[in-house]
């Protein structure tokens, strides 16, 4: 199994001279099994560059798993060029939103409305199938097994564990570890803490011993102090997850949009200094970075 980052930015694409090294496209990760099956995690703007590489191999079959439907994770879907060519098969996987009861087809059809895009959903030539995934239920894609788990974000968000070819990967999508809504002096504090611990344990088990852990680490501790509840993790929380889950390699992603290449270089240097145990297993995700197991 191997994987490659095509988009590592959070919230909004950030092209420009300050983001050349790490890249300005929003989230997209390509996974290839040893049998060359194609799995894509999220369809941010990075999926457009990935699509260019697929044209020569058409017809293709692609399995796209969406963590959640915020723009930066779906915005590239209408630009995933294989949808416009017949004989391609696209399987789009995602959750059923508990508030709207909408399934993942809504992510594409909403974007392909007359006001927003020149081509209508009915005009797509590829065969597109929409599949609803459920937390804890493993989906088989060729030789790979993909298991979703709900991770806290302001909308339904799945973290996906991918097991294949004797290797494993876990991607959080966007994730903020939930905090206790009660104060220590409140009656409900202790019981809520129990619920949080139980959920945390479930999350660590889902990530346990993965070869690659890819986590949303948008913020520094200082930034996080004013962004509680926004749904994103920190560099510190990413490292904590990797330690507890015994992940072999940790990739920090979903870079905050104002973060420049120089900022990320500096943050990386500081993290390596503060966490010498992670010297050979900590990485900042950047567009084009490919990892083989």
């Amino acid at each position: 199994m191997k994987f490659k980052f095509w988009g590592v930015r959070g919230s909004i694409p950030t092209p420009g001279p300050q983001t050349v090294k790490y890249g300005g496209n929003t989230t997209c990760i390509e996974i290839r099994t040893n049998r060359n099956e194609l799995i894509i995690l999220d369809a941010g703007t990075g999926i457009h560059a990935l699509a260019q590489t697929l044209l020569r191999d058409m017809p293709i079959t692609a399995h796209i798993f969406i963590t959640h439907t915020h723009w930066d994770h779906i915005q590239g879907l209408p630009f995933f060029l294989p949808i416009f060519f017949k004989n391609n098969r696209i399987n789009l996987y995602g959750g059923q939103d508990p508030v709207t009861d909408e399934n993942i087809n809504r992510a594409l059809s909403a974007q392909l409305q007359y006001s927003y895009f020149p081509i209508h959903e009915a005009q797509l030539k590829a065969r597109i199938d929409y599949l609803t995934v459920r937390p804890g239920e493993t989906v088989s894609v060729g030789s790979a097994r993909i298991t979703p788990i709900i991770l806290n974000h302001p909308v339904l968000n799945f973290g996906y564990r991918v097991d294949c070819d004797g290797a494993s990967l876990f991607f959080t999508g966007d994730f903020e570890s939930p905090i206790n809504i009660y104060q220590p002096e409140d009656d409900n504090y202790a019981s809520y803490r129990g619920f949080l611990l139980e959920k945390h344990q479930e999350i660590i088990e889902a990530m346990q011993d993965v070869d690659a852990l890819i986590v949303d680490s948008s913020y520094t501790d200082e930034e996080y102090a004013t962004r509680l509840g926004w749904g994103h993790g920190t560099y510190r929380s990413g490292i904590k997850l990797a330690s507890e889950a015994n992940a072999k390699r940790l990739f920090l992603t979903h870079h905050e949009p104002t973060r420049t290449d120089a900022d990320l270089d500096l943050i990386y240097r500081d993290l390596l200094e503060q966490h010498p145990r992670f010297a050979d297993k900590l990485f900042i995700a950047r567009e084009g970075l490919e990892v083989c197991f």
């Binding site: 459920r134 937390p135 302001p154 339904l156 939930p178 809504i181 959920k199 509840g229 749904g231």
Partner: protein, 280 residues
């Protein structure tokens, strides 16, 4: 009541609005981006309709949880505060229950009965030495035990009005006159809905037997709390009859109803807390 009417009832309840004060609070709280999470959760926990909506989602087949969840707080941990908040907003957007309806059934008085029964039920569960989780679940049982009555008032007001009137005039238990005029009583209707919504067996059985013979200590606490709330005239859910404790329940608490009320001390603070929450 025919089985086709059962199905219709279940469908109608999906569109049932929440209680006025909680709708007002949800709208008020959710217009503030910095709303305190615990305030939102408290509003949901004190409104039967909002509570049911959240429990229905978290216990749906979609989540495939091995254990049923009776706690709004636990649902928040599982699906996230913002999702729970938006579920509450979607219920609030349906409007609000009218305080007076064609059945002459007061939503405010009902909610006072539900909330005080919930608080007393939790207190009794603690006294009976039930687990921490069962104690917190017994609050939910108290809140939801008479849910069937709100449904009757909303969707079959004329027949429910007759049942309420006969119960009051003849001093007969409301669940008996409901059977006469509606063909199903509120405990049965509540059970039917709780089953449909995938609530836990513990809650379903407690609701089913809250006028009969409870099958466990949890149900006995609910039965007793309901009688205590009625005896003390905390709110009013339309039933004038206070039932004596069956032998099993008297044995559970080691005394009959009046002695238990005496033993529990002054419970008026529970009514005051409920009034604070309910009054507009």
């Amino acid at each position: 009541m025919l089985s086709s009417e059962h199905a219709e009832l279940v469908a109608l309840v999906e569109k049932m609005p929440a209680f006025p004060k909680s709708v007002q609070r949800v709208v008020q709280l959710t217009s503030n981006i910095d709303v305190s999470a615990k305030e939102i959760v408290q509003v949901i926990e004190c409104d039967p309709v909002l509570t049911v909506k959240i429990l229905k989602v978290i216990n749906s087949a979609f989540y495939g949880l091995s254990q049923k969840i009776n706690s709004v707080q636990r649902a928040v941990v599982h699906i996230g505060l913002n999702t729970v908040k938006n579920l509450a907003m979607s219920v609030a957007a349906m409007g609000m229950l009218k305080n007076s309806n064609q059945a002459n059934f007061s939503a405010t008085a009902f909610l006072l009965h539900a909330l005080t029964t919930a608080a007393i039920s939790r207190k009794l569960a603690e006294r009976a030495g039930l687990s921490q989780q069962e104690c917190s679940d017994s609050f939910v049982a108290g809140l939801l035990h008479d849910f069937g009555k709100v449904v009757f008032a909303e969707f079959m007001p004329e027949r429910f009005r007759l049942a309420l009137a006969k119960s009051r005039e003849d001093n007969v238990s409301l669940h008996l006159t409901e059977l006469e005029f509606i063909g199903i009583n509120h405990a049965e209707a509540g059970t039917l809905l709780a089953e449909k919504w995938g609530l836990s067996e513990l809650l379903i059985e407690a609701i089913r037997h809250h006028h009969g013979r409870p099958v466990n200590a949890f149900g006995e606490c609910l039965f007793a709390a309901n009688q205590i709330s009625k005896h003390l005239h905390f709110g009013d859910a339309g039933n004038p009859v206070v039932e004596a404790f069956p032998e099993a329940i008297a044995d559970r608490f080691g005394m009959p109803l009046e002695a238990l009320i005496e033993d529990l001390g002054d419970l008026r603070f529970m009514l005051k807390e409920a009034e604070l929450f309910v009054k507009l």
